[in-house]
Amino acid sequence: MSAWIVAFIALVPPLGMCAYHVLRGDTADRLVALELASAVGSLMLVLTSVGFDQPSFIDLALALSLLGLVGTLVFAQFLERWL
């Protein structure tokens, strides 16, 4: 098992902690935790790309990062106006 896969596994608890805050926190904390989970998740996909030697996996990281930006922006606007 390469160091990249071990690093990927080492990042599962931080992602789980973000998921905990998304599930259990108040509305503002959920938004920030979602933002953090998106950042950590995209870096984890980069690790899988190198660990499994699959260059195409990095496109998933790129897509997650860009969609996470847009999604969180929409969530922030929604929070500002209606929630």
């Binding site: 690093a7 931080p14 973000c18 920030v32 933002e35 950590v40 870096l43 990062s65």
Partner: protein, 94 residues
């Protein structure tokens, strides 16, 4: 030598992400916690970029990772502003 450098940078990146999530848990308000997201993008992503550079050399993957890092840093700044503004307005709503 390059593998050692890549491994060291990789674990620096993992350590930075752990530190950011620990800070996220420790800090009290959502506005304070926004700083942890920027730390993950800048410190974690930056160290990972240089780890991939040491592992792969110049490659298509590195270019895509650079684009990812750039979009995370630039977009993250915009996002932090939008989120902070939303939270600020929400906190002051009667």
């Amino acid at each position: 030598m390059r593998t050692t450098a890549a491994d060291v940078l990789l674990w620096v990146s993992v350590l930075n992400i752990w530190l950011a999530v620990a800070g996220f848990t420790r800090l009290r308000t959502a506005l304070d916690r926004l700083h942890c997201v920027t730390f993950v993008n800048a410190a974690g992503g930056g160290a990972l970029f240089f780890a991939v550079l040491a592992h792969d050399g110049f490659s298509v993957r590195l270019i895509k990772l650079g684009f990812l890092l750039l979009s995370a840093l630039v977009g993250g700044a915009v996002l932090s502003h939008a989120t902070g503004r939303a939270l600020w307005i929400r906190e002051r709503r009667p």
